[in-house]
Chain length 379, copies 2
């Protein structure tokens, strides 16, 4: 048979400044590119396996997991295929179909899908609505208490540490503590935080932390992280009665290939970048301040921002789209001609973006470009 | 914190002839190495996503899935994280905990784990035992009928197309047909066949076919394939009521990174190598014949073999290990010194191996090396 041409090339990231928040934390550092090259083939990490992925000594997956658990301050840790797969593992192993869980109102769609796949009912904690969309811990605690009153038992409480819509950072420690007090297992979704900012699972009293290697840990996708308090290991990491080395929820082995090699190679880089998180937030804030110098561009979410992912209301861009011959496409095209990408084609009323990891000059080039575009077209 | 040294290098495949059957079908061709390079970063395939991984147009995942379904002669197809994850998706979506399924006696441990994770009971079809370990379709059909009599309903019948212990090829067409007649959904595990030999899912009347990209389709792991008759799509690919584009069992998106780019890049190569399968089997048979020239080495499983994975009883090597100063390690070390790897350290009573994709000269070098080693040490 003749195959279609799949157009399998990508130079978007090499040739442009990419504002897509999804892509900023997954860019591979040099060490990870080398690992990708060495571990490209099939089951490359399995050469010296004697039955347990997490115990492989060459490359030292066991040594890596030890470091990872220290880094996250968590008792036990495994790699999975992604944050969503980690969430599903938790829900599938500690809940029964029909059970009720509580989830914050800024949860990622994958939290909802994991719950739907596990047959669970979701109670939602409302956010504070426009313009902050904040998830308040008082509101969460109250919703959780009411849910316990109503349903008798709540099997899991999920909090998005940093959400993907507004980049709002939530109060994990308060969450961990009231969940613990109310005897409800807590899951913190760190897809947008683990690998960007410090995680202290035990310090925050969190039962389960999940992370995303390709989203925030400079790894090649798909790969996720699942950390847990030791008391959960017996349930989540239960072994097969028939194949006694193999963990059932992991289907024996999870990330058996290049992604785990890149996650491992990136860990030292990630550990060190997390130490510079405050500077990153400063850069993000000054990026926001500069964009907001344009009249008709306003940051939504908590102010000042505590994250690199920021969302803007951009009525001025929408105004321009109404009079511009290229309509809603003008913004994408003007940015593209300046080698800036990552804002969806046709979108002008609002956008979210991230400049994570960019230099100050690159960020200034981006804000200057926005200014130039608005000046060029605004009446 | 200081990270451990994880020793993240691999030149095993580059510098040696690797007999490990797990590794032979996952070696990347040049095109896939290029895709790996281009799509190394994080969520690299997601630049132009508008909500559905399987519908992405750049790179053309949609065009690829169209070709893949033609290649497998199956109605609908998705990528997953591996053969085991595909099996779990099928079991989780069409069975309920407590249901009974029938599985062949040569099933891979991941079939058992997928069933255990889904809470299913397994009835096993015995194989024919030493020396062939054949799974006969008459025996399968009888076991299936008896199980229906005993349990009322059998929710799924699983057959390993080519097993990982003996490389026995089973009769998929006969299996598909009697399952259909008995009204039991059939799943064919093609982890060791899809990408090596032709698959004709619809021609064989099979409900579900699963494959492994890193095992047999020249892809970087982890990535799997799940094909199904169209009548199952509504159940398996059910969309979320809340996020109406997203398929629940896929948790929205599965292989969101480099592995799918390599699988796509490799497909034309894989399509063409499957056409040469008969030659591959001939080469495997002559490899077996040459090794069997050594007294005390005998192939197990169906003879002549129909696959590149072959298992040998090797009493002569075990005899040598009893008198050799390096004991059971002698074989590994002698082979290693000849740049031949992939047989476990310490193993001498039997081994399985594959020379898939090697040239005739390379295969001859390997059989000659075994002869040399045996001659050197046998009394
Ligand atoms: C908050 C949040 N959680 C989870 C995910 C999903 O991560 P993964 O691809 O690792 O499942 C995302 C991805 O966008 C996210 O933003
Ligand atoms: C017969 C068979 N099925 C399934 C698997 C697992 O494949 P995957 O890693 O894609 O889950 C293997 C791997 O060894 C196998 O030999």
């Amino acid at each position: 048979m003749e195959c279609n041409d799949y157009n399998i090339t990508r130079d978007l990231e090499r040739k442009n400044l990419n504002l897509n928040p999804l892509q900023r934390g997954g860019v591979l550092p040099r060490e990870a590119r080398e690992a990708l090259h060495d571990f490209g083939d099939g089951y490359s990490v399995c050469d010296y396996c004697s039955g347990r992925l997490d115990e492989i000594a060459k490359p030292s997956i066991s040594g890596f997991l030890e470091d990872l658990s220290k880094f996250l301050k968590v008792d036990d840790v495994r790699t999975t295929h992604g944050a969503r797969e980690s969430k599903f593992i938790v829900m599938h192993s500690i809940c029964e179909p029909g059970d009720v869980i509580v989830v914050d109102g800024n949860a990622h769609y994958t939290t909802h899908l994991a719950a739907e796949r596990a047959g669970l009912e979701i109670i939602e904690v409302p956010n504070s609505r426009y313009p902050e969309f904040r998830v308040d811990m008082d509101v969460y605690e109250e919703t959780l208490k009411n849910s316990i009153d109503e349903y008798g038992e709540i099997k899991l409480a999920v909090l998005t540490h940093v959400d993907g819509d507004y980049g709002n950072l939530t109060d994990a420690k308060s969450f961990g503590n009231f969940c613990n007090k109310l005897n409800v297992p807590s899951l913190l979704n760190c897809a947008y935080s683990m690998g960007r900012l410090p995680i202290d699972a035990n310090g925050w009293n969190i039962d389960f932390v999940v992370g995303s290697g390709h989203k925030s840990m400079a790894a090649s996708g798909p790969i996720g992280v699942l950390g847990m308090k030791h008391e959960w290991a017996e349930t989540l990491l239960k072994r097969s009665p028939r194949h006694t080395k193999k963990e059932i929820e992991m289907l024996g082995c999870t990330s058996r290939g290049a992604p785990i090699a890149t996650l491992m190679a990136s860990l030292p880089h990630v550990v060190s970048r997390v130490n510079n998180w405050n500077e990153e937030v400063e850069l993000s804030r000054s990026f926001v301040a500069k964009l907001e110098e344009i009249e008709g561009i306003t940051q939504l979410g908590i102010r000042p921002t505590n994250h690199d992912l920021v969302r803007f209301d951009t009525p001025i861009l929408h105004e321009i789209s109404k009079i511009h011959p290229r309509k809603g496409f003008f913004l994408y095209e003007e940015l593209k001609s300046r080698n800036i990408v990552g804002i969806k084609r046709g979108q002008t009323e609002w956008f979210k973006c991230s400049t994570y990891g960019m230099s100050k000059d690159q960020r200034d080039y981006i804000t200057d470009s926005f200014k130039e575009i608005v000046e060029k077209f605004a009446k």
